[in-house]
Amino acid sequence: MYSPPAGGELTDLDYKDLGLKVGLEIHQRLNSHKLFCECPSIMREDEPDSWIKRKLGISYSELGAVDPAAKFESLRRRMFLYGVYYDNTCEVEADESPPYPLNEDALEIALTIALMLKMKPIDEIHVMRKIVVDGSNTTGFQRTALVAIGGKESCIETNWGFVRMATLCLEEESAYIVESRPEIAKYRLDRLGIPLVELATKPDIWHPDQAKEAALKLGRMLRATGRVQRGLGTIRQDINVSIRDGARQEIKGVQDLDLIPEIVRREVQRQITLIKIKDSLISRGIKEEYLRTPIVDVTNALADSKSHLVRKALARGDKVYGMRVVGFSGILGSEIQLGRRFGTELSDYAKVFGGVKGILHGDELPNYGIDEDHVRRVRSELSCEEGDSFILVMGKRKPVELAFGSIRERLKYALKRVPNETRRALLDGNTSFMRPIPGSARMYPETDVLPVKTVPILRRIKYLPPAPEQIVEKLVERYNLTEDLAWELFDEDKVALFERISKYNVPTRFLASMLISVIRSLKRDEEPIEKLKEDNFIEIAKLLGEGRLAKEAVPEVLRAIAKGEYTSAEYYVKDHQISMEKLDSIIKEILIRKSEIIRERGERSFGMIMGEVMKEVRGKIDGAIVSRRVKRKLEEFLQAS
């Protein structure tokens, strides 16, 4: 009986032994208008003004060897809907007009990044069409250009060693997917065409944590230009992972850096397990020809089942089809990633190629309301013998056949090797199958765009932005910040603002934490912090410097402005400031109220009095002023008594 490997932690040594190789592809949106038209690079939340319907003309001979015929069939039938916005998408995104010349501002940013990484710019850039048939580009191809190539000296240093750069491309962002079903996919065109750099490293990364560190460093490098988009979705990583005897997997769309090590670890686990499964199948003597078992209609065997799944399917008019899987007993249910079984992999294939809802297999039954008796009936219908398992798929005949076809292909791979796949990153660090890894990209020249020489654009780049490490070092030295706080300012894109407000004679650490932790806590409270403009912070710093605003009041001022209660800190101060006379009268009242304790403790009662006063005036007047005043009044009070 096959047993899944214990999910113990792997050590550094293990990763070296396993021959782990990881490469990153970082996609970063640039802060410029669209790459091939003048439309602004902004994302929309509202409904598009109208929708256009398209199909993609894909020829069989073009599709290549990697995609099964089923894929071709479904692609030709598939309808794509594209949402257009009349005001900020145009004929270019809708593929109703040829592209304009390449956006040279975007190229300048891409070249700046290349130079920062000591990569070698290409003399003359040629825009290519990379065939993409999932509908994410209205053209059916993505426009992309190789801008620079890495060399020995173009690398970054991590705690686990150097990581070299391979290539830097400038390309157009794809359309935003709204909905995807096998027969139809809906996209919005607002995102299509936003300029994007794709920075690819060589597979020098050999440790899961190194992958995260490299991604972090490269992301910071990109942001150091000050010319990339910020915020959710503006940067994403594709991770290529393989181990010796495994196979390269392209894991798409990782947005959270902290997830990277986990994704790599789980992928290593998955490949180790798949290799073990292969060995186990070989030792069982399973052969490819055993996988030719027929697809059988087993609806009758399950007709009186109480299973909700089955009953719902039958009510829809679907049928239940089964296939005997010779010698796979125990394997379909074996865990290959935390919470994912080999059966889950098969289920992914069935969903992608057949558009069915999923599969049921022998290793997980009885379950889902299908009892032992029904399992026995199904096994007998399928002529299962000892050691065999089976797979059930519900649906209409045609999609079910497509689903079983792809399952059969996947089962064949199980006997041979780990298949190369493009996989989608899931939120828990696992991945699911998206499509086979494309063979070499089908690319041909974008004849509508003239090549661009880089020399004139390189001449425009007068100086390179300082590296992130330099910026942070300067902050630490000049403003006496901790390194962590300085990095936070950098990561939150607040360095320039911080430097502007630091001239107002306010402790710099306080200013830095105002920009970081105060904002963060307002964000946690779901205040609309986007209402806070740079001018608000400048004004606050000025008021603090002049002693007209108390530090303690800063969170409340910012909250009030964010909420829209005040448009400026000046007005807030006017409404909330208390006069010295008022302060004196508050102090006097408290001294009288607490006179007994004061007489008892003498000067030691300062802390208590101060606390009481601050309860009343917090945020309305600088604590230092209050403290001086309380001290004096307390002395006067003690002398008088």
């Binding site: 894909i58 290409i122 003399d123 003359e124 059916g140 992309t144 190789l146 020249p445």
Partner: protein
């Protein structure tokens, strides 16, 4: 060995015996680039060479300081799997006359070159649906962008259509560049008499080498019209909207390319399209079309044309003497006048002189939509008195083609006048209902 490089790079490459698509290695600034040498378009400079790297990208390398080495010669003989052509007895025979454009081309991803194909099998590879609509073959006449076509090309096409129909074709498809497709469609309408089968021009605004090509729907729609519709006219079948949903069938003498790049660039002017065709249906929008006749075709060919006709757009400030200069060189003038069909008042004596010298002047409107009316304003009346001929509701381009046709038959001014005003093939006298003027935003 061919080599598409000129000047400095060309000399260098030939001296190294390197040709197009050879695999080469380039050393520059301490880096090595290896890939396939890609032909360089002539409009680019002679200082760079283009190679396609193994990752698929093309890059241009300035040869200053570069060292090149031949790695291996080109290997281009790559057979692609294409489906076999099946003939079905139950389907009509509709040949495809190829005149150019990109519908009969494909891209070779190993080089990026767009190459034209010779066999319909290759077209069926891209549009397999056609095999269920028609039996077809290629009749290749020439391969020209349609901006290069002349009235002589129209004659070649008309003759090919005539021959195919007389040989028993059930209809004809014509693959054509889109720039001047409507001129050709109009010319065929005048030259093919007693037309009794569909003649359908089709093209694409997005070339067929792109997955997003509009050619698939256009071809399916055109084939359906040629195979299944009762229309016996020269028509254009192209997209009806930016979506791949339906195509419009537009009468050749009413069609005009109204947008530089949109899929639905072709619009029917002054009358609704004849039909709306989806992937699997035809819906007629009008009953106003010539009907097909079953059995052998009795189509006649009359390709007498005199190409010496000029089409002039009137503009504010058009100088005196401009039209007279043209009249020395041409045998007929078509004016695209302003508004109802006007020219500046000061040109009228010149028009009178030209007509007097025996050269017909046909007035159309640059408004395109609507009818010329020379009776409303004084300028119009004076133009009529000067002997100008009203082009009625004809498009300027259609009037141009028609005047060529008419001048191919007579130089008698009175006969010319009569023939121009006579409706020969649906080009004159449309019913201007309120449903024939489009605006996208209504």
């Amino acid at each position: 060995m061919t080599l598409h490089y000129r000047g400095r790079v060309g000399k260098l490459l030939s001296s190294l015996r390197i040709g197009d698509y050879d695999r080469i290695r380039v050393l520059k600034d301490g880096r090595v680039y290896e890939g396939i040498l890609i032909p360089r378009p002539e409009i680019l400079d002679d200082e760079h060479l283009i190679i396609k790297l193994d990752n698929g990208y093309n890059i241009g390398i300035n040869i200053e300081g570069a060292k090149m080495k031949l790695i291996s010669k080109a290997n281009l003989s790559r057979e692609r799997k294409i489906p076999k052509l099946r003939y079905r007895d139950d389907l009509p025979f509709v040949p495809l006359i190829v005149t150019g454009g990109t519908i009969t081309s494909k891209v070779d991803y190993s080089t990026g070159a767009v190459i034209s194909h010779e066999k319909p099998e290759e077209l069926l590879d891209i549009v397999p649906e056609l095999a269920n609509i028609i039996n077809t073959k290629y009749v290749t006449l020439f391969s020209e962008f349609s901006e290069n076509l002349t009235p002589n090309h129209w004659k070649l096409i008309a003759k090919a259509v005539y021959e195919q129909l007389r040989k028993g074709a059930d209809g004809v498809l014509i693959a054509h560049g889109t720039d001047t497709m409507h001129y050709t469609a109009a010319a065929l309408a005048f030259m093919l008499h007693s037309l009794d089968k569909p003649v359908v021009l089709v093209g694409s605004q997005r070339s067929i080498d792109r997955p997003s090509t509009d050619a698939v729907l256009n071809l399916i729609a055109a084939a359906r019209v040629a195979a299944e519709s009762p229309i016996a006219e020269s028509v254009i079948a192209m997209h009806g909207s930016p979506s791949d949903e339906y195509a419009y069938v537009i009468r050749g003498v009413r069609a005009r390319k109204m947008h530089t790049s949109r899929r639905d660039a072709f619009q029917s002017i002054n009358e609704p399209p004849i039909a709306r065709v989806t992937y699997d249906s035809i819906r007629f929008l009008t009953e106003n079309f010539r009907r097909k006749r079953e059995g052998p075709s009795n189509v006649e060919l009359d390709d007498r044309l005199d190409p010496n006709v000029a089409l002039v757009q009137i503009w504010p400030g058009i100088p005196n003497g401009f039209l007279s200069t043209l009249a020395e060189r041409f045998k007929g003038l078509v004016l695209a006048g302003t508004g109802l069909g006007h020219t500046p008042r000061y040109l009228i004596p010149e028009v009178a002189e030209i007509v007097k010298s025996g050269i017909p002047v046909v007035i159309t409107s640059q408004c395109l939509f609507g009818r010329v009316n020379l009776n409303v304003y004084e300028t119009g009346r004076r133009l009529l008195m000067a002997g100008a001929i009203s082009g009625e509701d004809m498009l300027p381009e259609v009037a141009l083609v028609k005047l060529m046709y008419v001048l191919g038959h007579t130089d008698n001014l009175e006969e010319i006048r009569k023939m121009i005003k006579e409706n020969m093939t649906g080009e004159v006298g449309a019913h201007l209902g309120l449903n024939v003027f489009p605006s996208c935003w209504r």
